[in-house]
Amino acid sequence: MMQQAISAISEWMLPLLVGVILLHGMVKRVPIYSAFVDGAKGGFGTSVRLIPHLIAMVVAVSVFRESGAMDLLVKCLRPILHWLHIPAEVAPMGILRPISGQGSLAMMIDIFQKHGPDSWLGILASTMQASSDTTLYILTVYFGSVGINRFRYALKVGLLSDFISVLASVFAVSLFSGMIHF
């Protein structure tokens, strides 16, 4: 019941939001069609400005992954992650999450296929994927769109909070599966 309600909400959210925005605009006598077209014009320029930034970052991440450097990094960090009670199966995913959203999504699916989406690991992988975002991509896109080259402390904050998100995911899943009692 609860579950049905939530999946219904996530399906309805987008169409309802669009409907509400249009209707509200109409009621407030906004010329909705021309207002939409006027606003949408900005989309092209913004996307085009991003091209050089995304090429730079995606090429670097691809090189890092395809060379086997990513696998090596995961192997080196495994003992530390083990010590923090992060299961070895999701460790590569946690490391990949801030660097490549597609990559970590692929790893989540891999865990689904091996262990099932409703297994403890499946739930943990889902939570890790959902509770954080691709920090490197967001930084590239956001700063790239306005031409900022010096990120100051933003990357440090992003990566540290990603790490905390992984720990928080392990904590939350343990909490919900009854492994931690208060």
Binding site: I6, S7, I9, M13, V18, I21, G25, K28, V30, I32, A35, V37, D38, A40, G42, G43, T46, S47, V48, L50, I51, L54, I55, V58, A60, V61, S62, V63, R65, S67, G68, L105, F112, G116, P117, I123, M128, Q129, A130, S131, S132, T135, I138, V141, Y142, F143, V146, I148, R150, Y153, A154, V157, L160, S161, I164, S165, S169, A172, L175, F176
Partner: protein
């Protein structure tokens, strides 16, 4: 900072490829990576244009102003350097609302709009302002009510309880967001001190 990370990704990849014999993969990755970088950018046009269009309607109808008024106390705490009446505040609030609702493809265009507005307040156009860093911290940790993509993936892999992760995601992302805001404050203070001395 970004130079260093960029170089590290490339150099470590190339050096390690020498030992693993993956050099042909790396060569391929350079070309393919450039290609998917372009595809990613072009792919964003649709979502950005759609949401900027809808937001323009909402803005002219006064909806953005209304939402800003409701969330103003939170935003004032998070972004003390942005004047409350500045359009940047409206864009920031719209971006935060989209994140909260889990409409990820709306959050990015709205976030980019916020960055554009914040850039008008930024004295040094090539260096991130404090408000920008905070916006990024809030976005990378993105507190999520309904993780739409992950739920869809779980359904596709025949999960008996696809929405079982809503609660865990909410707890984990709330902790992550609080941590991100705290870290942002901490590093901002450190950064100010360092700049004060210099």
């Amino acid at each position: 900072m970004i130079d260093f990370i960029w170089l590290t990704l490339f150099l470590s990849g190339i050096v390690i490829a020498m030992f693993t014999g993956n050099m042909s993969h790396v060569a391929n990755a350079i070309l393919k990576g450039a290609e998917s970088g372009v595809q990613l950018s072009i792919g964003l046009i649709s979502a950005i244009a759609l949401w900027l269009g809808l937001m323009n309607i909402a803005q002219q109808a006064g909806a953005v102003g209304w939402l800003s008024a409701r969330l103003r106390p939170v935003a004032r705490f998070l972004f003390p350097s942005v004047p409350p009446e500045h359009p940047a505040m409206g864009a920031i609030l719209a971006n935060m609302s989209a994140n909260l609702l889990g409409i990820g493809n709306a959050a990015t265009p709205l976030g980019l709009q916020a960055m554009r507005e914040l850039q008008t307040l930024n004295p040094d156009k090539e260096t991130a302002s404090e408000a920008m860093c905070t916006l990024l911290a809030v976005n990378t940790a993105s507190i999520t009510l309904i993780p739409t993509t992950v739920i869809a993936m779980r359904m596709q892999y025949h999960s008996a309880h696809p929405t079982a992760v809503v609660g865990t995601t909410l707890v984990a992302s709330a902790i992550g967001t609080v941590a991100a805001i705290a870290l942002d404050r901490m590093y901002r203070t450190i950064d100010r001190r360092r700049r004060g001395k210099a």
